[in-house]
Symmetry: D2
Subunit: 357 residues, 4 copies
C-alpha cells in the first residue's frame, strides 16, 4: 500500500513517519510539504540552516526517509498513492484535502471536515460501521476517494471509554475535566515554557466544543441519512498542564441503568474481547484497567501498548449523579490521538475494502 | 492578643509566623515544637547543623521571631495565651489540642477534630453563625477554651464559591475535579520531584472524602442539636499537578433554580458586598471574578488580595446538568486555605467575643 | 523627571512600568509602541480582543498607566521628555534610538549599540566613572542626548561579582557556566514548554560572546580615547534551564594574587560598603553573600532586595587554577538585569548631572 | 552466568533487573532485600499494601522476576552465584559486600569501597587494564571474590570524555559544572517537587569530592603498588536541575598540547574505534559527537545507544585556558552511570576471566 504524507515536516507529519516505520504493508512513498521545504531532502528539511534539529519525535527518523525529496503539497499526484495521510493545519486541510480526495482516500488529523454530515469520525474498535458513510460521501461529492479525519485527541480516549458503558448501561450525561499535555497544542501555537511552568491554564480555545460534538458523533448511530448523534449530553472543561504527552481526563458519567464498579470492569473486559485485534497497529486491549489507585499517570502509563491503549483507573461509583460512575482516563494524544490512530484507521479501512491493497 | 504557635518549626507553623507578622493586634508570644527543636532559638531551629535553611516561606522570618526560644509543646502553659494556633499533624493534634482547649481557644489546621459534631468548620464570611457551636462544645467538654479547625485547603475555595450559589439558587449537586499544588502535601509526605515532573497524579489519599464531608458541613445549618449538613451531594476527583501553590478546581453544579451567567455573577457580587470586610486579614472581595477566559491560573492569580480571595473564572451555563453552571476556581492553599485563614478566623472570633482581647 | 517608555506593551516595557511605579521622582509621561498598539489605551493594548491578559508581570499595572493612550513610537516627540527608556528588539532599537538621542538621553535594554566604542555599559556601583564616555558620545555624534544600554542580563551579575575580586586581587581568567531562566529569552523568541520540560538546552545563540565582550568592557578603564577592556580572559557556556526568573552562574576565577575564602568575603564586604546606596532603586548591598551551602537558589533568592542584589554562595578556593576561587551567583535577569537596572542607571545619571531633573 | 541482585526492591535494584532482562548469558538467579521485603514475591514487594506500584522504571518488570521470592540479603548464599550485583546504600554495602566477596565477585553501585587503594573503578573501554588490581585485592584480603564498584554517575561521563583527550593531548586541568538529574538523588533522599520546581539547587553534598577523586583514579595508571592518580587537577561545582534522567556537564579543559576542534573530534573518533564493542551491553560508540549546537539535551539525547553512549556537543576551543577546549556532555546517570554500567563491567570481567562463565 503506497502512502503519501502531506505536511511531512511538521510535528504530526513526523509522527506519521514514526508510525509507519517498519509497517508490514504500508510504505511511505511520498513526502509533501510547503514551499519552505519542497525540493529539499527530508533530512535537511527537518534541520535549520544552522544545524539545529527540528525533528521532535523520541524515535529516530529512518535513514531511507531522510534521503527522500520533499514534494510540494500542491503538486502531489494523489492518484499515484493508495492512501494520503495529512497532518495539516485546518485552513490548509480545507483547501488541499478535497483535491486529493477526488482520486484517493485521505486520512487526516485536521478538524476541517469533522463536522460535515457525510464525514465519519472513525475509531477502529468503537464505530467501524460508520465507514459506510464514506460511500455516501463519495456519492455526494463525486469523488473516487474520500476524507476521513481522526477525532480530536481529547475526544478519542473519552469516546473509547464511553463505548462499553453506553453499550452496556446507556450513557445519559458526561461531565469531563481534562488535563492536557503540551504536545497537544502543536508547535506553531505551542505554549511557552514561562506560561506553563508552575501553572495550569484552564482554557483551550475551541477544544470543549470539539469534544462535546465529536463524542456524540462517534457514538452516534448510522442510518440512511447519516449519523444520528448519541442521545446524551457531554459537558467539559479543558485545561493545559505541564506534561509532555498524554491527556488525563477526570470523567463523571450518569447512566441509564445502575452499574457497580465490577459491572463497569466487566463491560470493559467484554468490550476488549469483542474488538478485533488483527490490525498491525491495534492494541491487544483498547482499554487497560489499572487497579493502582495512583494511576493512570501520564509519565508512566502513556506508552501502554505503544500509546494505543486508553488507560483507565480510579473507577468508582458516583452518588451525586443518577446511576453515576466516575473514573480517570489517560490517552496518548500523539499516538492513538493523532498519527498512529490514523494509521490504525487506514489498516481498518484496508481490511474493509475502503483502501485497496 | 497573645498568641502561641504550636508546631512552629513546621511549614504550617512558619506560615502562621508570616501571617501574624506585623499583625495590628495579635502578638506572637510563644513558639512551641517537639523535642527536636525545643530549647533552641527559633532561627537555629529552622536551620540544619550544616547551615541549610529550613525556612520555606517566600516572606522572610522576622528577626524578633528568630530570637525567640522554642518551647516544648507538651510543656506549653496554655492559660498564658489568648489563642493558640496549631499546625500539627493529625495524630499529635488529637493528643495535644484538647489539653490546650481546657483553658484556651485553639485554632488548628489539623483534620483531627473536623468531623466531631460539636466542632464547627468556620469560614469567616461564609458561616460565622456556626461559631455558636463553640458554646455547645465548651459545655459538652467542660472546657474554657475550644477547638476550631480550619477546613481542608481544597474544601475552602469550593465552599466559598458555593455559598452565593446556594443562597441564591439552591445547590443540588456538585461535581469537582481538583488540580492541587505541591505545597498542599506538606513536606514530610511531600511529593518527590521525579514523581511529579512531566506528570499528574490522579489520587490524593483521603482528600476526596474530606472535601465531600466538609463542604456539606460548612454550608449546613446550625440548630439546637448541632449542624445539619447541607442537603446536596458532592462528588470529586482530586489530583496533584506540578504547581507550587494554589489549588485549581473545575466545578460543575446543578442548581434548584435556573441561573444565567449574569445571575451567577450578580449573586457573587451581592455576596461580596454582604460580607464584612472589617477584619485585618479579610479580603475586600471573598470572590474575585475574572472575565479573562484563560484565567484563573495559579501562577498569576493565587496571590490575589494576599492569597485571601478565591478567584473564579470561566463561568458558563452547563446544559448537561439540570439548571447547570460550571466554572473554574483558584484558592491559595497555604494562605486562605491554611494559616492565614486561621488568623482570619481568630479575628472573627475576637470580634464576636469568642477570644478575649 | 519626565520619562517615556518605548516598546511599552512588550514584556520589557511592562517591567519598566513596574520599576517606575511609585518612583519618587521619575514619572511615566508617555508610552509608545508599534502600530499594533498605538492609539489604544494601554490597558486595552495589553489584552487580546478576546479578553486574554497580555500583562506578564507579577505586580499589577497601575490604573493610571492603564488609562494612558499608547503613542506611535516613530511619532514620539523625544524632546518633551527628560529620559527615554526603551525595551525594543535590537533591529528597531538601531533605527529609533538615534532619533531620540538627538535631543534626549536614551536608556535601553537592547544590544544594538553595546559594542560601539563611545557607548558605555553602565552598572551603578561598578563603573559609574564610565558615564564620562557619554560626553564623548555626544560630541562624536552631535547629539544633545545619548544612548546608554544596560548590559546583557547574564553579564551584569558576573561583572558585579568580579568587581571586588578585580579591585582586590586582580582577575586573570574567568570560566563561567550559566543556567539561565526562561524569561531571559523574552516572549517572541521564547522557549516552548515542551522544549524545556524535563530538559536543559546547552546553547543560547550569541549569548556567550555578549558575556565575554561586555564583562571586559564594564570592568575596563576609561581613558581619553574610550574604554580599554579589562585585561583578563572570559570564557563561558550559557545554558537554559526550566526556571522562570533568575540566572544562576557557576564561576571559576584565576586571580593575580592568592585569596582565601575569607579574603574574598572581606573584599565583597568592602565593596558593598564603598558603593553609594543613596539612589531609590539601589540595593543596600550590591552583593549578598549566603553561608547556606544549598543557596543561592533562583526560586528563593532572586527577589533579594527587590531583585537588585546579586546573591553569591558556595565561595571556595579552587586548586585547579592559579590563585583560584569558585562560587555560584544568582542575578535577577528582569530586575537588576533589565528594566529596573536601567532605572537605577537613570537615577545615577541624574545624580551625576547627565539627566536634568 | 548466575547473578544475584542485592537491594533488589530499591530503584537501583530495579534498574539491575531491567538491565539484565533478556541478557544473552547473565541470568537473574536470586533477588535479595531487607526484612521489609524478604519472603515476599518480588511483584508484591514492589507494591504497597494499598496496591500502589513502587516499580519506578519505564521498562516493565518481567513476569518471571515478579514471581521470584525475595531472599534476606544477610542470608544470601553468595557462593551459589557467579556474580553479585548490589544496589545498596553505602552503609549497608560496607557491611554486606565483604561477606559476599569472600566467595564471589561483587559489582556495586555503592561508594563504600571506591577509595580503597586495592579497589579499581572500572569503566570498560576506558581502563580495562585496572582489572588487574582485583588480583591484588584478592590477595590482600584473602578473598576468592572481590568488590568492584561503579564510579559515581557524574564522574563516569566526564572520565569517558577525558580519556581520548588525555591520551592524545594530555589533560592538565579540568573545570566542570554539572546540571544533574533528579533520579541521581535516589528515592530515599530524593528532592521534593516543591524544592526543585522553578529552581536550581547549586549543591549536592559530597558529590564534588567524589568526581574529583574518582576521575583521577579512573584515568590513573596501574603499577605494582596500585593505581597512581592521573596527574591533572579536577575542580567542579555540582548542581541539581529539574530533569528526570541524564546528567549534563559543562566542561573546560586545559591540555598539555594544543588541539583544534577537529583534533578533538579526531581523537574521539579514534578512541571510539579502538574500544572493543563485542560486549552485549557496550555501545557502538563510547562517545557520540553531535554537531547540532543546541544539543546534547537530556530529554532527547539521554537514551542514545540505550543510555550507554556519552553524548558530546558544543566542542569549542577555549582561549581563557592554556591549550583550552570546552564542551558539553550528557551521560545517562541510571544507565551507563549505574546498573547497566555495572552489567557492562560484568561482561568485560567475564571476557577477561575475572568472572567464570
Amino acid at each position: 500500500m503506497k502512502a503519501a504524507i502531506v505536511g511531512a515536516t511538521g510535528i504530526v507529519g513526523q509522527q506519521f513517519i514514526v508510525a509507519l516505520s517498519g509497517h508490514p504493508y504500508i510504505e511511505i512513498s511520498a513526502l509533501a510539504g510547503s514551499t519552505r521545504s519542497a525540493g529539499q531532502k527530508y533530512g535537511d528539511a527537518v534541520r535549520t540552516p544552522a544545524g539545529a534539529s527540528q525533528w521532535f519525535c523520541e524515535e529516530p527518523c529512518d535513514k531511507s526517509v531522510k534521503d527522500m525529496t520533499v514534494q510540494l503539497s500542491t503538486d502531489l499526484r494523489a492518484e499515484d498513492y493508495d492512501v494520503i495521510f495529512t497532518g495539516l493545519e485546518a485552513d490548509t486541510a480545507r483547501e488541499l484535502e478535497p483535491l486529493y480526495a477526488k482520486t484517493t482516500p485521505v486520512i487526516s488529523t485536521a478538524s476541517a471536515f469533522r463536522y460535515e454530515p457525510d464525514v465519519p469520525l472513525l475509531v477502529p474498535g468503537v464505530n467501524p460501521e460508520h465507514a459506510k458513510l464514506l460511500d455516501i460521501q463519495r456519492k455526494n461529492r463525486g469523488w473516487k476517494g474520500y476524507i476521513t479525519p481522526n477525532p480530536n485527541c481529547t475526544t478519542i480516549g473519552l469516546a473509547i471509554t464511553l463505548k462499553p458503558l453506553h453499550d452496556a448501561f446507556g450513557v445519559r450525561t458526561v461531565l469531563m475535566t481534562s488535563m492536557q499535555a503540551l504536545s497537544g497544542a502543536g508547535r506553531s501555537g505551542g505554549v511557552l515554557g514561562m506560561d506553563i511552568l508552575d501553572n495550569v491554564v484552564p482554557y483551550i480555545p475551541k477544544e470543549e466544543q470539539k469534544v462535546q460534538r465529536e463524542t456524540q458523533k462517534i457514538l452516534g448511530s448510522l442510518n440512511a441519512e447519516g449519523i444520528e448523534d448519541a442521545p446524551f449530553a457531554v459537558s467539559c472543561t479543558c485545561t493545559r498542564v505541564n506534561v509532555q504527552d498524554g491527556h488525563t481526563e477526570s470523567v463523571f458519567v450518569a447512566l441509564d441503568k445502575p452499574a457497580s464498579v465490577d459491572d463497569v470492569k466487566a463491560a470493559i473486559e467484554a468490550f476488549n474481547k469483542a474488538v478485533r485485534t488483527d490490525l498491525p497497529s491495534a492494541p491487544q486491549n483498547m482499554i487497560t484497567v489499572t487497579e493502582d489507585p495512583f494511576h493512570p499517570q501520564p509519565k508512566w502509563d502513556r506508552m501502554t501498548e505503544g500509546g494505543m491503549s486508553t488507560v483507565v483507573g480510579r473507577i468508582r461509583e458516583d452518588h451525586a449523579l443518577p446511576n453515576g460512575v466516575k473514573y480517570v482516563l489517560l490517552s496518548h494524544n500523539t499516538k492513538m490521538g493523532a498519527a498512529k490512530g490514523c494509521v490504525l484507521t487506514a489498516e481498518m479501512l484496508a481490511r474493509e475494502g475502503y483502501i485497496k491493497r
